[in-house]
Structure formats: C-alpha cells, structure tokens
C-alpha cells in the first residue's frame, strides 16, 4: 500500500475501535457478546493498525484533512514514520491486551462489561488519534479523551473510596499536564498562522521562546509519562485499574507522552539544544533511580510494577537526553543512536510491562491477592502464567538475550560516544548517567528476583495466623484467551530481543525522517544476525548466537551427564542445613528484600517502623514506607491551594446580586483593558 491509503486504513481501524466500543452498549443479558466478539475484534483492529504502522515507517509521510471539527479548524491527520512506529507499538501491544481482556472480564456482569467495553475502545481510539493528529486542536481533543476514558477505566470499581481518590489524583495531574501542553502549543504558535503542526513547524522561535515551549512540553508530557516529581498518580492509579487497563496505561498510554515529547522536541520545535538534553538527563536519572528504589520496597505487586514504569520512563528519558545532548553539540550519528535506543526501549517496555501487568492480573484473578507477602509457590498452581511471567521478569531485568537488554545495550553504546563531545563537564557527566542506568538495571534484576521468587517459587505463605490465602483460592491457571494474550506479548519479548537488527533499521528510518540524520552506513550494512550500532570493530552483539550457544551447551551437558554417569533422582524434604521444624513462615518475604535495600539507601526512604518490645503481650510489627515527594512537593502545594481557596472563599456570599456585581466589575475591567 502507498502511504495515503495506509493513512486511510489506519483511520478506518481507529474508527473501528470507536464502533466496537459503541456496540458494547447494546443491551445484552449475557456478557458473551462483548467477551466473545467485541474484544477479539478490537484485537484484530489492533493487529491491522500494527501492520499499517510497520509499513508506514518505511514510506514517505502522508496527510489528510477531515471535514470535521470546528469551522475553519478542520482535523488534520498525518502518518509519518514516527507515527507509524507508535501505531505499531499501540496496535501490537493492544492486540495482546484485548485478547487477554476477552478472557479476563469473564466474571463481570453484562451491563458493567458493556460500559468497560465502550471506555476501553474509546481509550484505544483516542490514543490512535493522538498519534495520528497533525494539528494542535485534534491532538488536544484526543489527548483529553484519552485522559477521561482512562480515568473512567481506573475508577471501574468506583465504590471503593481508595480507588476514587486514586482516580482523582490521576485526573488532576493529567489536567495539569494537559494545561502545560496547551500552553506549549500556544508558545510554539508564535502568533501567526493556524494551529496545524505544519504551521508550528514553520514558526520561527527565538531561542528563549523555544526553550520556554520545550520546558512547558517537557513538564506537560512528563506529567503523563510519570517522571518525578509528577509520578505520584502512577503507583495509585495502576493498582486501582483492572489489570488489562493497567497494562494498557503502563504499556501504551504513558508512551504517548514519549511520542509527544519526541514529536514536539525534534519535529515541531526543532533545533535541539544540549542544555535541554542535560535537563532531560538529570530528570531521567532521578526518575530511574527513584522508581527502582521505591519498587524494591513495595509488596503490592501492581504498585511495584507501577514504580517500575516510573523507572523505565526514566530510562527512556536518559536515552532521549543523551540524544539531545549529542544533537545539540552537532554529532547527529550519536544523537540518532540515542533516539533509536530511547524509542527501542519505549517499545520494549510496552511489551514486557504489558506482559507483567497481565500476569499480575492472572494472579489477582486466580488468588484474589496483590500482596506479595501472602503469595508463594504459585508456579505449581499456575505453571503457564509462571512461565510467561518469567519471560517478562527476565526481559525487564535487562538480561540477554531478551528485549530489555537490547535497548539498554544501545543506550550504553550511546553513552560510550561521549568522547566526541567538546564540553569537558558534559563529557564527564554522560558516563555517570550510564552508571545510573547500570545501577538501575542491576536493581531491577534484584527486584524481579524478589517478585518471582516470592510469588511463584517457594511455598505459600500464611499471614496473621490465617491459612495461606494463595493455597485456598489458587486452583486455576489462566484461561485460553488469557494465555493467548500472554503468549503474544511473551513472543514479542523474544522477537524484539532476538532480531534487533531489523527493528534497528526501522527506527533508523524513523530517526532519519525526524532529524535528517541516521546511523553510519557500516552500521546499516550489517546482516540481520548482528546488531552493530557504529562499526563492527567497535561493538556488536548477536543475541541469536548468544542463545544458541547457551542452549546447545545446556542440552549437550544434560545428555552427556546422563550418558557418562546417570540420571537418577531421589525426592526428599529440603535439607536446609539440617535445621529441624521448617515452616513456610520462615521463608523470606517481600519486605525482607526491601529491608536490605533500606539499609543501603536509607536516607532515600521515609520509613515509619514500629518494632515490638520484648515484653509486649501482643507483639506487632508494622512498616510503612512513604514517598518523600508527598511531603516535599504535593502537600505544600495542597496546603497552598487550600490556603488560597480559603481566601477566595471570602467572595462567596450567597447573594445573587453580589455575584452579578462581580460579573459586572469583570466586564468593566475587561472593557477598560481592551480599550
């Protein structure tokens, strides 16, 4: 297909999502329609969108003006390689999630499911429109629709007060961000022309106003992405939402913010400055470390995953920041590499975080618990989920040969281009950011050893004298549709990890279309087997050979040991250094892992711990770890708002004539102002 028809087809797929959503409202006595037909159809639309996006990444861009919208301000659509790449991400991840959702929502009542179906598909369609939008107006409409529909999805269980307040927090930060983005568009506009992206691109901004626009956009998109200190909604909203929705929000929605950042910075504003890159790097490094350190001390599985989303956004920002620094100093090849690494990680994170959230959903569905301290031994009850979760856990821990490693490897390679830079301070700082990344990667590995080891391995844990919750409820592995969704995303982890070269070429095309510069020719000539970012003598990586050698050695060793010796096995109780009276309560808990980290990184956490005294009749132990940002940023802001509101409340008199007087005075004031 050529690009205009691809754009039309993508539009059709997005509209199909809207239509599917509306079909969900058809009153039905059973939820079978939505489950059996609508969600799978949505998955198909997602697949189609992914296919269109993948093709569009290789074609010149195409645009389209819809006869919709305000008079004089029709909707502009455009499909260029960057949009194509993000459509690929959105389509492929949402396909897996939709299939999973078809199985996951089996116990919902028909009415509720219809509503969820509507909100879910409107959410998907709005994300597609965010990516396809080519004017600020449509972009903001889609952006706000996305925020609203996801808000309703988060508050699906709106009868619980905790979930309502989580939703409120989410909505508030989302709107703060949207406001900043709106202002950014206003600044970029520069007072001339209309608000189509073409006009914004053409606007000639002075360095000062360009920086203002960048800062506003960075803040606005950062609020949606979950960078510190605007991350507070993530660990609240993700656990509140149903798991497929968490998977979509964490996997795809926060990526639209990355899309927005890349679009605005590289495309609309242009002329990237290295100072911006340094800001992004500093925020990114802070976000990365903060996210992973707080993830390590969580024991609520979904909250933990949410903090890891914060961390991964930080990693993506590190890639973007390095790219901006290199572009700013005039090293486009290194800059393109950084951009590619960031986008690659965006895709990777979407896939493995989607997978992990779905896995968490299966655990929640099967056992009814999110608390890691009450889990254990789930691998025996749900071996299939356990396998897919392991794939996701290894991928997010950046272990070769899965996909998380590839993008971190590319980021390290970008950092190793630092000697190109002329500025001494920046040159010495870039490797420090790489060190942050290395530290975060290793901490993530620790965190997922904790998650996997505690949830799936070992024995079920009992809690407060009650019988092990996991053992009581868990009896079911995931259903067929859920398995299919999990398998799709797990396969994504393998494909993106084992065949990175083709993805690299696609992303190079995306980067080239945005910035006009790509990787060196040597890098592009390498075969599909090898991943070469600069030139073969400098760095290369071949995940396939990597995997093949390890698998071959494993198989040969198993065979040889059997042949030469024997394969006899006896099963016995665990030895445990000869200690008698082993109970399941003696296993490590999630908090035990956190405690070790708390010792090393003590000052970062706000820990409130209550230890029982020796003579307590009813000894109780409690541990609460709070986010310092609440006390540093949010509560002061909340107090200030409250204070101002009290002052403003003086205006509220309850008499109509007073209010009319206010309006009258305002009118007079405005007339004086515009005179």
């Amino acid at each position: 297909m050529d690009s205009p028809s691809l754009l039309a087809a993508s539009l059709a797929a997005s509209i199909a999502w809207l239509a599917i959503g509306l079909l969900g409202l058809i009153p039905a006595r059973e939820s079978a329609l939505a489950r059996r037909v609508l969600f799978p159809l949505g998955a198909l639309a997602g697949l189609a969108l992914a296919a269109f996006g993948a093709q569009a990444a290789w074609l010149p861009s195409a645009s389209l003006v819809l006869p919709l919208g305000l008079p004089d301000l029709p909707f502009h659509l455009r499909l260029d390689p960057l949009a194509g790449f993000f459509l690929l991400l959105l389509g492929s991840v949402s396909a897996g999630v939709s299939v999973y959702a078809a199985g996951y929502f089996r116990s919902e009542s028909a009415g509720r499911l219809g509503l969820i179906c509507l909100q879910y598909h409107v959410f998907l369609a709005s994300m597609a429109f965010v990516i396809l939008a080519d004017d600020a107006y449509l972009f903001m409409v889609a952006w706000e629709t996305m925020a609203l529909s996801s808000y309703f999805l988060v508050t699906t269980d709106h009868r619980l007060p905790a979930i309502r307040s989580a939703g409120f927090l989410y909505l508030m930060i989302a709107h703060l961000g949207a406001l900043a983005i709106l202002l950014a568009f206003g600044v970029m506009h520069g007072g001339e022309g209309d608000y189509s992206f073409d006009a914004l691109r053409a606007a000639n901004l002075s360095p000062f106003w360009a920086t203002v626009a960048f800062l506003l956009a960075f803040f606005g998109f950062g609020a949606k992405a979950g960078m510190i200190p605007l991350h507070a909604w993530l660990p609240e909203a993700h656990p509140a939402a149903p798991s497929p929705v968490s998977a979509l929000m964490s996997g795809v929605m926060i990526k639209t913010a990355i899309y927005g950042m890349v679009r605005v910075t590289y495309d609309l504003i242009g002329g990237v400055r290295w100072e911006w890159g340094m800001l992004v790097l500093v925020v990114g490094a802070g976000t990365t470390l903060f996210g992973v350190l707080y993830a390590l001390v969580q024991h609520d599985l979904k909250r933990l995953l949410a903090y890891h989303s914060v961390e991964n956004i930080g990693i993506i920002l590190l890639g973007l920041g390095m790219s901006m620094v290199f572009f700013g100093f005039g090293h486009p090849a290194a800059g393109a590499l950084g951009l590619i690494a960031a986008l690659y990680h965006t895709f990777n994170h979407a896939v493995f975080k989607g997978l992990l959230f779905l896995g968490a959903g299966s655990i929640l569905h099967s056992t009814g618990i999110r608390d890691l301290n009450a889990m254990g031994g789930l691998i025996r009850k749900m071996p299939i989920v356990a396998f897919y979760f392991l794939v996701g856990a290894l991928a997010i821990s950046a272990l070769p040969p899965l996909n998380g490693f590839v993008s971190e490897w590319l980021m390290f390679q970008t950092a190793l281009q630092a000697p190109l830079l002329e500025n001494g301070v920046v040159r010495s700082l870039i490797p420090l950011f790489a060190a942050t990344l290395a530290l975060a990667g290793a901490l993530t590995a620790m965190c997922f050893v904790k998650v996997y080891g505690i949830a799936f391995l070992g024995q079920p844990r009992e809690r407060h004298g009650a019988p092990p919750a996991a053992a009581e409820h868990a009896g079911t592995d995931a259903g067929p549709m859920e398995r299919l969704g999990l398998a799709w995303l797990a396969a994504g982890c393998f494909v993106l990890g084992l065949f990175p070269a083709s993805m690299l070429l696609t992303l190079n095309r995306v980067g080239a279309s945005l910035t006009g510069s790509g990787l060196s020719d040597e890098a592009l000539e390498s075969s599909w087997l090898w991943l070469v970012p600069t030139e073969p003598a400098k760095a290369s990586y071949s995940p396939i050979i990597f995997l093949l050698v390890v698998v071959a050695v494993v198989l040969i060793t198993i065979r040889l040991v059997r042949l030469v010796y024997h394969g006899r096995v006896r099963v016995a109780d665990p030895w445990d250094c000869g200690f008698p009276e082993q109970t399941t309560r003696m296993q490590d808990t999630a908090d035990a892992f956190g405690q070790a980290i708390g010792r090393v990184f003590g000052p970062i956490y706000l820990t409130k711990r209550h230890l029982p005294a020796a003579e307590d009749a009813a000894p109780k132990y409690s541990l609460r770890i709070e986010d310092r940002h609440w006390h540093w940023v949010y509560l002061p802001v909340a107090r200030l708002t409250e204070f101002l509101s009290e002052k403003v409340a003086w205006l509220q008199r309850g008499r109509i004539s007073t209010y009319l007087l206010y309006s009258f005075l305002t009118l007079i004031g405005l007339l004086v102002f515009v005179r």
């Binding site: 001494g424 301070v425 010495s428 700082l429 420090l432 003590g602 000052p603």
Partner: protein
Amino acid sequence: MSEPLSSQFVNLLAALLLLLAFAMLSQRRVLTLIKLLAWQGAALAASTAIVAYATGQMHLYFSAGLTLVLKVILIPWVLHRLIDRLYIRWDVETLINIPTTMLTGIGLAIFAFSLATPISQMASTITRSTLGIALATVLLSFLMMIVRRKAVPQVIGFLAMENGLFFAATSATYGMPLVVELGVALDVLVGTFIFGIFFFHIREQFDSLDIRHMEKLRED
C-alpha cells in the same frame, strides 16, 4: 601516545594521589588515615623527583627530599606518637554517610577537572594535565576537613590539602621558589606540633576530641 615516559609516570602518580585522597575521605580509622597520608607524601615526593629528573631543575630534587623527610617520615611519626599518647586508635565518625560523601567528592572532582582544563591548556609544563587532579585533591581534602568531627582527622585533612597545593604548584609552574617552599614546610611542621599541643588542651577541657564540644564556647 607521544607523551614522554616521565610525564606518563607523573600522570600515574597524580592518579594515585587522587585515589589516596578518596581513600582518606572514605576511611574511618585514624591509624589508617595516617598511613594514607604517608603514602600520599611518598607519591608526592616521587612525582616531584620525576619532574626534577625530566626538567633538570635541581631545586625540585631538594624539595622532593624535603617532602620525603617531612611528610613521609616526620609528620606521620609525630601523629603516631600523638594518637598513642591520646589513646585514640579507635574509629572516627563521619558527619554524612560515606557514599554521600564520596558522591559529593566525585562532583567536586568533575568541577575541579572542568576548572583546570582551560588553565592547563595555557600552561607549558610537561605535567599540565595533572593540574585538575591537584585541584581535586585540594578540594577533597577540604571536604574531608568539613565532614570530620574529630580533631585529628581534621588535621590530617589539612595536611593532605597542603599536599594537594604543593602538587598543584609543581604541576603548574615546576614548584614555588625554594625559600617559599622551605617556609611552608617549616610552617606545616610547626603547625603539626601546635595542633598536637592543642589536642591535649582540648581533651583536658572537654574529655573528648570531638570538636562539636567547641560549640559550647560560643557566647549566648
């Protein structure tokens, strides 16, 4: 790779100096601190001797010898006597925890390096690239004086700072005039003795060498 071997050795010793400065920053024991100070002095003497050899400046040989006698043998010996007499071979505490101190130290090192780069491009000595390291050593020793609570480590920090200054002088201009150097050396020696005497007085007064007690001397 075109640099002469002597210059490479000086670079190596400079790196060692920086390494020792960081080691001092992270070291808790007084005894080890004194040993590290002696090693720093030795590295300084060696590098001065190499510069002297490479440039043929006789007075640098002299100052190398002076460094060796004073900073490797005499002052560490005095300090050893001192901590024996004061019975303080125990751990020293630090105000901030060590990783934070070290991170601050790295920040200071980057700052020093960036500050020194333009200066070292102006200098014409064979050792110009070590100027940043010298500056970093000075700043790190200063940091050490700030974060330490006990009096003896503070004095060690002071002496390490003097080492850094000396190294800076050597690397930037092949050393100060001999008279100045002699004067500084004498000052340092006398300073150490005076500090030693002061320690006894401080301890007599407060029963401790923790300098937080000095806060009590403030007029309210």
